[in-house]
C-alpha cells in the first residue's frame, strides 16, 4: 500500500508543524560546532588587511619594502597581484578587491599581508608606507548627486519613482514630516572569517561564513581569474548574518594570499575591522506628506526618500526599490507619489540588513500615521485599521495582494493583549536600572503601536530559485535520507526545517543534512526571508521526486534513490522605470507591535517594558523557531529605536566597537509575548510566509510611538538618544 504524505507524517516524529531540536544544537552548546573563525589547517598562515584611514583620498604611492623585511612574513600583496578582475559587487561591479589609485571610504582595503602569526601580520602591515592625497569627502546624501562624482556614472545609484492615481490632490487633513534613520549595523557576533586552502592544480577551496555560496564563488573566481570549477566553497559555521554577509569581505583576499604563498590562509577580523569589513543598513532621510479625509481615510501619500549607499553600490538598487514600493506601508492608498534615491557618498558602504529598505520607510510612514491620528483626534490603532490593507488590496505599484493581509487583525491582537503592571518599584526594572538613577520619580509611561509590510523572496523579475538533492538508502535495515543544498544556514534553523520537510514528505525519521557547498547547484541567498520558502520548496519538490520512485516501499535493498531538483517561486516583473508599476514582489509579510515604555524624562533614559508582536507566518513549520525569529527581529528593531547607530563624522566611523556601538543586552530587552497567525498563502509551499524580516520593521516605530506618547515630543529621528528627550 502506498501512503500519502499526511499518513506518512503521522508515522514519524519531528515533521513540519513541530519543533524538533536543531541538529547542530548539541555541538553548539558543547562548544564543538566549527565556526569559520575556529578553522585550523596544518601549516596555515594568517592574513591581515591594510585599510584606508581616510574616507576619500588619492593614493600617491604604496611602499612595501619594510613590510616585506619583517621575519615571518610570507607575502604582501596589492591590486597589482590580483590576477583577474579587480572589481566586484552584488549588483554593480564597482568595488575594488584592493584599491588602485583612490580610496572611497574609511576602511577600504589597500594591501594584504600573510604571516606566521596574526601579530606578525599586524606589525608588518604597519610598515607598509602609503602616501595619500586626502580629498574632501562627500557625506551628505541629500546633495550627493550634485557633488563631486565618486564614480564614472555620477553619484546616483538608482532612482525609483512610483506614480499611482492623481498626483495633485489636496485633502481635509494634511500632515507632513521629515524623518531620519541612523546607520545600523548587523552586529552579528561571529566575525568575518574563513580559511583558503590552495590545491596543487592551482584551484582553491574556501571554507567560509557567508549568506550565498554561489554568488561568493562567482565573484571570487572572477577576481582570481579562475574558471568556476577551480573555486570550491564550503559553508563553515556562521555566527549570525542579518544581511551583513551578502557582500564579500575576506573571501578574495584569503584566496589571493593562499594562491600566492601556496599555504592555507586563515583570516579573522576583530570587531573593529568587522565594522569596516561589511556593509550596514542605509541611513535615510525621508520626507512625507499624508492627506486624509475627516473620517481618517487616506486620500494620498507623497514621499521623497534618500538612502545613503556609501562608497559602493552593494545591494543599494534593490534597497531603493523596497523603500519605494513599500513606502506607504500596509495601507490602501489610491494616490501615491514616491521618489526614492540611493546615492554614493564617502560614508561606509551600505547594503543589506534585515528589513532591507522597508525598515527605513516603516519608521517614517508609521510616524506619519501617528501624526495623522493626532490631527484627526483618532486613536493610533483606529486610523491604521481605517486604512488597513486586506487581501485584494492594490499596492502603490498596482500589484494586487493575492493572499492574506490581516493588517487590522494583527493590530487588534496586540491591542487586546494584557498590559504590563504599572511602573515597577524594583530599580532593576526602571530606566537606568542598577545605575540607581531613579526610584520612579520623573518616570512616565507610554504605549505605542506600529504595523509593517515586507516583501518576501527576490523581486523585480529576478530568477530566484534553489536546488535541493535528496538521497534515500537503507541504513541498518531502515530507510534513511540525506538532504544536500547550497543554501546557507546562518543560525535561523534551515537545517532543522529541511529535516522536518523530508520527514513529512517521505515518512523517514532519520534525515542527515549534508554540508552546504558549491558541488551542488545554487541555493540562492539566505536573505529576503526566503530560504524556508524557496529552499524549503526545493526540498519538498525533491522529496516528491524521491517519493514517486520509492513508490510506498519501506525496504529498497541496495538501491539508492537520489534526486536533485531546481525549484523556483512564481515569476515577478520589473518595475516600470517611469511609473513604478508592476507585479514586482512574490509575497508580502506583515507584523504588528505594541510597545510599552517607561521614560525617565529628567535623564532621557528609556526602559522598554513590553514589546508584544503579532505576525502572520502563513504556516509555522517550526513554531519554536518562528517565535525565535520574531523575538530576535523585534530585538534588532528595539536596538534601532533607542540604541544602535554607527556614528560618522566627515565619513569616519566614530564608534567601531561594542563599547561604543551598543546592541541590546538582556537588561534592555523586555518580555515579548508573540501571537502567530497561520493564514496559509496558497501560492507558497505549505502556505508559508517568510518570517525573519517583518518583526524588525514594526518594532522600531512602535517603541518610538510609545516614547512620544510618554513625553509628547515629536522624535523624528532614530535611534532616539537621551539628548533628544531632555533637549540638552
Amino acid at each position: 500500500m502506498t501512503l500519502t504524505p499526511a499518513e506518512l507524517t503521522s508515522a514519524v516524529s519531528g515533521g513540519i508543524g513541530t519543533s524538533p531540536q536543531r541538529p547542530d544544537g548539541n555541538l553548539k552548546v558543547r562548544g564543538e560546532f566549527a565556526y569559520a573563525s575556529d578553522l585550523w589547517h596544518e601549516d596555515m598562515i594568517w592574513g591581515a588587511t591594510l585599510r584606508s584611514p581616510h574616507p576619500y583620498a588619492r593614493i600617491v604611492s604604496v611602499d612595501l619594502t619594510e613590510a616585506l623585511k619583517v621575519p615571518g612574513v610570507y607575502a604582501v600583496l596589492t591590486h597589482s597581484d590580483v590576477p583577474g578582475r579587480n572589481l566586484y559587487g552584488l549588483e554593480h561591479k564597482d568595488q575594488p578587491v584592493l584599491a588602485v589609485d583612490v580610496v572611497r571610504y574609511q576602511g577600504e582595503p589597500i594591501a594584504l599581508v600573510g604571516a606566521d602569526h596574526p601579530e606578525t601580520a599586524l606589525r608588518a602591515m604597519k610598515k607598509i608606507a602609503v602616501v595619500y592625497d586626502v580629498l574632501e569627502p562627500v557625506v551628505d546624501m541629500e546633495t550627493a548627486v550634485d557633488d563631486t562624482p565618486l564614480h564614472p556614472g555620477g553619484n546616483l545609484v538608482r532612482h525609483v519613482p512610483i506614480r499611482r492615481g492623481a498626483q495633485d490632490l489636496t485633502a481635509d487633513v494634511v500632515v507632513t514630516g521629515r524623518y531620519e534613520v541612523g546607520m545600523q549595523d548587523q552586529a552579528f557576533l561571529g566575525p568575518e572569517s574563513g580559511l583558503a586552502v590552495p590545491a596543487e592544480d592551482g584551484s582553491i577551496d574556501l571554507y567560509i561564513a557567508t549568506q550565498w555560496l554561489h554568488v561568493d564563488r562567482d565573484q571570487v573566481a572572477s577576481a582570481l581569474g579562475l574558471p568556476l570549477d577551480k573555486v570550491r566553497l564550503t559553508l563553515s559555521g556562521v555566527g549570525g548574518a542579518f544581511g551583513g554577509r551578502e557582500d564579500l569581505s575576506m573571501q578574495v583576499h584569503a584566496c589571493l594570499l593562499a594562491l600566492h604563498t601556496g599555504k592555507p590562509v586563515k583570516m579573522v577580523y576583530n570587531r573593529e575591522e568587522s565594522f569596516y569589513g561589511h556593509v550596514h543598513r542605509h541611513p535615510a532621510v525621508l520626507y512625507y506628506e499624508h492627506g486624509a479625509d475627516h473620517t481618517g481615510k487616506l486620500v494620498y501619500v507623497r514621499a521623497k526618500i534618500y538612502l545613503d549607499g556609501g562608497a559602493y553600490a552593494s545591494s543599494t538598487p534593490a534597497v531603493v526599490a523596497n523603500a519605494a514600493t513599500l513606502g506607504v506601508g500596509p495601507y490602501e492608498v489610491d494616490n501615491v507619489t514616491v521618489d526614492c534615491y540611493g546615492v554614493y557618498t564617502n560614508n561606509p558602504p551600505c547594503g543589506a540588513m534585515r528589513g532591507f529598505g522597508a525598515v527605513q520607510a516603516g519608521f517614517a510612514y508609521e510616524s506619519q500615521m501617528d501624526k495623522l491620528a493626532e490631527a484627526l483626534g483618532m486613536s493610533p490603532v483606529d486610523v491604521r485599521v481605517r486604512n488597513a490593507m486586506t487581501e485584494g488590496s492594490v499596492m502603490p505599484t498596482g500589484q494586487v495582494v493575492d493572499s492574506a493581509a490581516p493588517v487590522a487583525q494583527l493590530l487588534k491582537l496586540v491591542q487586546d493583549k494584557p498590559l504590563p503592571a504599572g511602573t515597577s518599584s524594583d530599580i532593576r526594572e526602571l530606566p537606568g536600572g542598577v545605575s540607581n538613577t531613579t526610584h520612579g520619580e520623573g518616570v512616565v509611561r507610554g504605549v505605542g503601536y506600529a504595523v509593517g509590510i515586507k516583501n518576501i523572496c527576490f523581486s523585480e523579475g529576478y530568477d530566484d530559485y534553489s536546488t535541493a538533492r535528496v538521497r534515500v538508502s537503507m541504513v541498518n535495515g531502515e530507510l534513511a535520507a540525506a538532504v544536500h543544498t547550497a543554501a546557507c544556514e546562518v543560525g535561523q534553523g534551515l537545517v532543522t526545517i529541511m529535516q522536518q520537510i523530508v520527514r513529512t514528505e517521505l515518512g523517514i525519521e532519520r534525515v542527515t543534512v549534508l554540508p552546504m557547498d558549491t558541488t551542488i547547484g545554487n541555493g540562492g541567498s539566505t536573505s529576503a526571508s526566503r530560504q524556508t520558502y524557496v529552499t524549503g520548496g526545493a526540498v519538498k519538490a525533491a522529496c516528491a521526486a524521491v517519493r514517486s520512485r520509492l513508490d510506498g516501499r519501506t525496504d529498497i535493498g541496495s538501491e539508492v534513490i537520489d534526486e536533485t531538483v531546481e525549484w523556483r517561486h512564481r515569476a515577478t516583473e520589473a518595475l516600470d522605470p517611469v511609473t513604478g508599476q508592476g507585479n514586482a514582489h512574490v509575497q508580502y509579510g506583515f507584523a504588528a507591535h505594541r510597545a510599552v515604555v517607561d521614560v525617565d524624562v529628567d535623564l532621557g533614559l528609556v526602559k522598554v517594558v513590553a514589546l508584544d508582536c503579532a505576525q502572520d507566518v502563513g504556516r509555522a513549520l517550526n513554531p519554536q523557531a518562528v517565535v525565535g525569529q520574531i523575538q530576535g527581529g523585534s530585538a534588532q528593531g528595539l536596538g534601532l529605536a533607542v540604541m544602535e547607530e554607527i556614528q560618522t563624522s566627515g565619513g569616519k566611523v566614530r564608534n567601531p566597537s561594542f563599547t561604543d556601538y551598543l546592541i541590546p543586552t538582556v537588561l534592555d530587552m523586555p518580555p515579548m509575548s508573540i501571537d502567530v497567525l497561520e493564514l496559509a498563502d496558497p501560492h507558497a509551499p505549505y502556505g508559508i510566509r517568510g518570517v525573519g524580516e517583518p518583526p524588525t520593521i514594526s518594532s522600531t516605530p512602535a517603541i518610538v510611538a510609545a516614547i512620544r506618547a510618554a513625553t509628547g515630543l515629536a522624535l523624528t529621528r532614530v535611534p532616539v538618544r537621551p539628548e533628544h528627550l531632555t533637549g540638552t
Binding site: D24, R30, F188, G190, G239, G240, G491, V627, F658
Partner: protein
C-alpha cells in the same frame, strides 16, 4: 614563553606563546579548544567566558601567561562525556540556540549563576547574563532555558 595550565581537568602545556597573547587565543589556537568564542575580544560580549579558578572571566581580557599554574574550565569541559550539563540541555530544548556564537559564553555564565543561585528570579537571571550579548534571540528563549535548567538541577 611556555605556559603550564590545567584545562578541563587536564594538565596542558603551550609553547612559543607570545607575551601579548590572550588566554582566549591560547585556548583556541594552541590548545585546540575553540569553543570559547572571539566575538569582540575586548570584554564587551561575554562570548569567551570561561572559569578561571572557578570564577567566570572573559578569556580575551586575561593574558595567556596569567593562567600559568591555574585551573581553567571552558564550555568544552561542562558535559560529562556524552551527557550534556542540564544548562546545555536546556539551551537546546528551549530554542535558546540560533547561530550559537554567544552560546558557549552564555552557557558558562548561566552555569555559574545556577551554582551560586539555584532558583534565580528573572531580574537575577537578567543581571547575571547582562555581560553576554546575543544578536539572534532577543533573549526570551535564553531566559526560558535558564528557568528550565534551574527547575531540573
Amino acid at each position: 614563553m611556555r605556559v603550564n595550565v590545567r584545562v578541563n581537568g587536564e594538565q596542558r602545556q603551550a609553547d612559543d606563546v607570545w607575551e601579548g597573547e590572550s588566554l582566549l587565543f591560547m585556548l583556541r589556537e594552541r590548545l585546540g579548544l575553540p569553543g570559547s568564542k572571539n566575538a569582540c575580544e575586548q570584554g564587551e560580549c561575554g562570548s569567551c567566558t570561561v572559569y578561571l579558578d572557578n570564577v567566570p572571566v572573559c578569556a580575551c581580557l586575561v593574558a595567556a601567561g596569567q593562567a600559568q599554574d591555574r585551573e581553567v574550565r571552558t564550555v568544552e569541559g561542562l558535559a560529562d562525556g556524552d551527557a550534556l550539563d542540564p544548562v546545555q540541555e536546556a539551551f537546546v530544548e528551549a530554542g535558546a540556540v540560533q547561530c550559537g556564537f554567544c552560546t558557549p559564553g552564555l552557557v558558562v555564565a548561566a552555569h555559574d549563576l545556577l551554582d551560586r543561585v539555584p532558583s534565580p528570579s528573572d531580574p537575577e537571571i537578567r543581571e547575571a547574563l547582562a555581560g553576554n550579548l546575543c544578536r539572534c534571540t532577543g533573549y526570551e528563549k535564553i531566559l526560558d532555558a535558564v528557568r528550565l535548567a534551574a527547575s531540573r538541577r
